[in-house]
Subunit: 338 residues, 2 copies
Amino acid sequence: MTEETAPRAAARRVGIADVAARAGVSLGTASKALNGRGRLREETRARVRAAAEELGFAPSNVARSLLTGRTFTVGVITTDSYGRFGIPVMRGAEDSLAAGEMIAFLCDSRDDPIREQHHLRKLLERRVDGIIVAGRRTDVRRPLGDDLPVPVVYAFAPSGGAHDCSVVSDERGAGRLAVRHLAKTGRRRIAHITGPHSHASARERATGMSEALAAHGLELVGEPFFGNWTEAWGRFAAAQMLRAHPDVDGVFCGNDVVARGVTDGLREAGISLPMQIGVVGVDNWGLVAEAARPPLTTVDLGLEEIGRRSAELLLDAINGRPAPGVHVVPAHLVVRES
Amino acid sequence: MTEETAPRAAARRVGIADVAARAGVSLGTASKALNGRGRLREETRARVRAAAEELGFAPSNVARSLLTGRTFTVGVITTDSYGRFGIPVMRGAEDSLAAGEMIAFLCDSRDDPIREQHHLRKLLERRVDGIIVAGRRTDVRRPLGDDLPVPVVYAFAPSGGAHDCSVVSDERGAGRLAVRHLAKTGRRRIAHITGPHSHASARERATGMSEALAAHGLELVGEPFFGNWTEAWGRFAAAQMLRAHPDVDGVFCGNDVVARGVTDGLREAGISLPMQIGVVGVDNWGLVAEAARPPLTTVDLGLEEIGRRSAELLLDAINGRPAPGVHVVPAHLVVRES
């Protein structure tokens, strides 16, 4: 027993003081070099890191917190109780945070500004290193607060603050991809059935659609059908569209729920899909897209990637490398049978 | 300015020592009385609390942690990446935790035992006061670990550990409620279309159904149709059922997704709903139940209540009042048009 424990007791844990001594720098310089903060010459930083590696320096969680003033926790405030948008964003963020050995407090503001400020106070009390605010709609939102003591990244719903950092989906790109696919598969008489005009996502997707139509020398058939994000609206609008424009051969739907209603409406009107009319949605929401008849061709907005990117940008900001501005995650087409 | 600041400076923050002095007890006793821990006579506890109230004693967050050894954080480990079950449970838990001034770390294990143990270690490193494990299926799961240093409550998926605390939905009760409703609305020839026999929820709901059928002097028409939790299965099974038993007048469906497939299948076979056949689902999943034609009558399993109850039981356990065993949250019927 003593033979086994003696060597371990002798192998004293390597501390930051040992690293500083080996590198020939002060304790403060060693700390700055290891936590990536403060201004140091690159040569000094490299020397300290080399010393830490040679000595096998591995700071404990608590020591790291004391060393860096960081808690290795971040707050995620989601406004999306349903989880439709929040959860994939959260999953993606968790991937990136775990890679940075961080863990997330999840708070659900339920789109209530009072709850949001309450959560903000609680997160700051707990000294989180940063905050991700995950929205449910792509409309611009007001910033979480002025002069916050920690970095904030806005995911999905961009901040209106001039110096804030937001990560958003490519709404126009989604419209362009959908229409490009319809045009490529030979559709020439394309109509548009979508959600409320008051939603930025409905307007932006329609703008992208117009750009792609123009690029292919096409014109939209009739006016866009703005309505709401329900299947019932999709069914109703499909019937209206058939009456007004019986020669339509492609429909770009603002999201998958509407597209599912449109496919039901068209199928029940005796239209053969996708032979007579091709349908493309937006969201790639598996539950809806795969249950539709036929399964929906749709545009994936990359929600998990928005989460991953948001967390990466937050980690960068925590490490002193903020990247203000609006970062756009590209969309991509998922071809199924519609 | 000085007039304004002087009184504030004079009003020194009331400390726990002041409370102890006023109540005529030791510092330790005052601490125990205020954090609700340890054994004290109720009279002593009341005296300390009265003193705290008289003095306007409000411990800071940090002071409370030092005072109580608690971090006022809990971990929630969810196995449900999709959010369908995890999110309502989480919402409910957050309600109860917020009432106890707690905040939750959310970890997504994605049904992977290695990720789960990784999250467990991270949560314990951060000295959470307790852990909620939220499952996706109602099948019994293995405990998170042996001799954990903090209380654990299992939500939705009960633990197989003999001394653990679990909060579950009333699966049999759901089957009973559904069939009782069908019987009460005059259905006498009732069939059952549901998910996989390997899922506890499918088996338990079928058992509850049999109990209610017997109570109403009825017998199930044919064998239960066990399949999977998809709309496509619901549509297919509805057609099979009509061929084998054209005189069916009620269908109990194992969940709402299956029920949506069944209503589509029956409607497309020319059956008038609910005139000829009544359909009841389980879940009250708004997205599915409200989009079905007709909107589904269904049994709500009270997922948010499971979350609330889990958090309450966890707070009780943290405060030294554990309640081991399986706690069942009652289901309730939601009547729509099917």
